[in-house]
């Protein structure tokens, strides 16, 4: 015990020496004010990533509570109302608190370094975008302790559940959504201005790394749809407090209108959560295949087509509201069309790996698992796109299985892959590879045990968002719960590995990975506080 304490204090002394070293050329300020007032893209990136990790664990605990309740049929842990609060908060926190801030954090850290810019274009705005988030999520989480409980209407907050029948805390939920929306919009503006205006000479658009390209497109999606989300929650606020009737049929409104406006935001939103993941994977696979990415320009065009298509498919979330046949057909075929550019991407990744001299370090394992498991999620998405069968799948666990397959082994795995891939660049130390691999395999196995059986219970008709279920679903649900706990607790390894990577000296080279190409690998590890203060030469 005392030995570890000694190493820790030795490291901390070492850290201080480092800080003084960089103080020379305008290093970071000391203490908490460094983080409060920082305008440095690396500091802000780190804060986003830590925040996202904290939210990931919070939302994860809620997921485990849900799985505990569903371990057996009947009500044992909690009342249905609290169960509904858990599903709602789990969804909101994972979408807006874990996945989106993680990608913004990666964007902050990597975009300036990848394009050779000294910092983000709007550093003060950057500070503000981050510091809004802890307040937004505190407000959201405190609703759990309010009278009437937290929001319990599902993360999609359909009216009238979220208006007429909502708990009083819904107003806090609305303001929290406003705040996180403002944060995302400011972040997106910053990313666009940085990418379009801060490139050094020679860094033309078609030379941008794919992570930068996918983020540029994501930022445009954010600009276009986050205001619509702000609009829909504002309408809710007005219906609840100012007597309007946007979503109330009694006053001439229509609850189905809510679903249209929400999903006009909601569908591009799911691409906001996956496009940067495509970018991350397109960086990692070439590195560990020691080959150039196959079909760079087709990747760019495929990403843009996916972004465009995301605006004309929203009603596939609402096939069962009673649409006319023409509408069902249009949204069905438009949705299936998305499989084409997505297929292009998957084939490009496979072609990149084909005959490459591949090695399987942790980031590569996560990236390959991403390609395989995301494709499974894509296939179940195609099944859901078929309007006539969607009537059977709608609101069942099949949908839960589908979107968890694209979000957990999709977005979340890509974030973990990115964390392992760039950790040595951020901290200057290699992480523990053995522990990383163990984390990967436990996560991979845990996730499949959790979510694969959900396909079966879903096809058999088990409804989602219900705390109790019919006896015939008991076995598969018990299996899912066991998998969830394996996945959940294996994340402790991830946190331990990150912390020990920061604290344990295991000097990384500037290139870090043998096959790594790109400007971020030309700066020393750890990346100095200020990089590319003079623009690099790009050929």
């Amino acid at each position: 015990m005392s030995a570890t304490e000694q190493t820790v204090s030795a490291d901390m002394q070492h850290g201080e020496v480092n800080t003084q070293d960089t103080e020379h050329h305008h290093g970071p300020a000391k203490g908490f004010s460094r983080w409060l007032f920082t305008t440095n893209h690396k500091d802000i990136g780190s804060m986003y990533l830590w925040f996202s990790l904290a939210m990931f664990m919070t939302g994860g605990c809620m997921a485990l509570l849900i799985r505990m309740e569903l371990f057996q049929p009947g009500l044992q842990m909690m009342q249905p109302d609290f169960f509904n609060q858990m599903t709602t908060m789990h969804g909101l926190i994972m979408v807006f608190g874990a996945v989106m801030p993680a990608f913004v954090g990666l964007a902050n850290w990597m975009i300036p370094m990848m394009i050779g810019a000294p910092d983000m274009a709007l550093p003060r705005l950057n500070n503000w975008s981050f510091w809004i988030l802890p307040f937004a999520f505190s407000m959201m989480l405190f609703t759990l302790f309010m009278e009437g409980g937290a929001p319990n209407f599902g993360w999609t907050f359909y009216a009238p559940l979220s208006t007429t029948y909502a708990p009083p805390s819904v107003t806090f939920f609305i303001f929290a959504v406003h705040m996180m929306g403002i944060s995302s919009i400011m972040g997106a503006i910053n990313v666009i201005v940085t990418i379009l205006n801060m490139r050094p000479k020679g860094m033309v658009m078609m030379k941008l790394p794919l992570f930068v390209w996918t983020w540029l497109i994501t930022a445009f999606l954010l600009i276009l749809v986050m205001p619509v989300l702000a609009g829909v929650v504002t309408m809710m606020l007005m219906d609840i407090h100012f007597g309007t009737s946007f979503f109330s049929a009694a006053g001439g409104g229509d609850p189905v209108l809510f679903q249209h406006v929400f999903w006009f935001f909601g569908h591009p939103e799911v691409y906001i959560m996956i496009l940067p993941a495509f970018g991350v994977v397109s960086e990692i696979i070439p590195t560990f295949s020691r080959k150039k990415l196959f079909g760079y320009s087709s990747m760019v065009y495929a990403t843009s087509s996916i972004a465009f298509l995301s605006f004309i498919v929203w009603a596939h979330h609402m096939f069962t509201v009673g649409m006319p046949l023409a509408g069902e057909l249009f949204f069905m075929f438009a949705t299936m069309l998305i499989a084409v550019p997505t297929g292009v991407k998957v084939f490009n990744w496979v072609a990149t790996m084909f005959r490459g001299s591949m090695t399987f370090e942790t980031p590569m394992l996560f990236a390959i698992a991403f390609v395989v498991l995301f494709s499974i999620g894509g296939f179940s998405g195609l099944m859901l796109a078929i309007a006539p069968v969607d009537f059977q799948y709608h609101d069942t666990y099949f949908v839960v299985a589908h979107f968890h397959y694209v979000l957990v082994p999709g977005s979340v795995f890509s974030i973990m892959a990115a964390a392992y891939y760039w950790l040595p660049k951020w901290t200057g130390n290699y992480y523990n590879e053995k522990m990383g691999k163990l984390h990967f395999w436990l996560s991979f196995i845990g996730i499949n045990i959790t979510f694969f059986p959900m396909h079966f219970v879903g096809l058999a008709g088990m409804p989602r968002r219900i705390p109790d279920y019919a006896l015939q679903f008991a076995d598969f649900n018990a299996v899912s719960s066991v998998g969830a706990f394996i996945f959940g607790f294996s994340q402790l390894l991830f946190i331990y590995n990150i912390v020990s990577c920061i604290r344990t000296k295991n000097q990384a080279t500037p290139e870090v990975w043998e096959g790594a190409k790109g400007l971020e690998w030309t700066v020393p590890s750890p990346a100095p506080y200020h990089t590319f203060t003079t623009p690099p030469k790009v050929d």
Binding site: N197, A230, G231, G243, G251, G252, G322, P324
Partner: protein, 184 residues
């Protein structure tokens, strides 16, 4: 300096797009109504009286069913006087609903119609309907509420039965305010 002004131009453009998209979110509300009215989907029924026109009658006839629904805590008794009718296309028919206020309070109600299948909505023309007005009823009062309609002979052939449903909402609290869709 050049960088700063280029940034400012781009930022202004992006902020304006954000503002426009916020507006677009609200513009979806009337767009949705207009879209539903033009295409007749979602079972939204025109809430303005049709001009009385005994248009070209046809020999075709179909069945129309009437349904009455009380919204959530609405305590009135509400039922159609005829549950179904066989009607000839193009001819005007009259029927009625009966509402009785079972409470000891003065109350105001608004009926909201919906047609199923939704494609039929645009061919069902209401000459007169109690849903055009809010319905005030004194405590214990019973009222026959009239409805006159005709069905456009353009009605697609494959529709043999249509269902007209009225949902009764308690709007006593909001009685002083105008109804959104009658303003359009």
């Amino acid at each position: 300096m050049k960088q700063a002004s280029a940034n400012n131009k781009l930022i202004i453009k992006l902020v304006v797009s954000v503002a426009l998209m916020f507006g677009f979110g609200f513009a979806l509300v009337p767009l949705y109504d207009v879209f539903c009215r033009i295409t007749g989907i979602n079972g939204k029924v025109d809430l303005t009286p049709a001009t009385y026109a005994e248009s070209s009658q046809s020999d075709r006839s179909l069945k129309i069913q009437f349904i009455a629904v009380n919204n959530e805590s609405m305590p009135w008794q509400f039922k159609p006087n005829a549950y179904s009718m066989k009607v000839q296309l193009g001819k005007t028919y009259q029927t009625s609903y009966q509402a009785s206020n079972m409470t000891s309070e003065y109350m105001v109600a608004q009926a909201v119609p919906s047609v199923s299948p939704s494609e039929a909505a645009q061919y069902l023309q209401k000459v007169d309907c109690f849903c055009f007005n809010r319905q005030p009823l004194k405590a214990g009062e019973v009222k026959e509420m009239g409805l006159a309609f005709n069905i456009d002979p353009q009605m697609p052939e494959y529709i043999k039965t249509i269902t007209l449903s009225y949902t009764l909402f308690d709007i006593t609290a909001e009685d002083s305010k105008p109804i959104a869709s009658t303003n359009l």
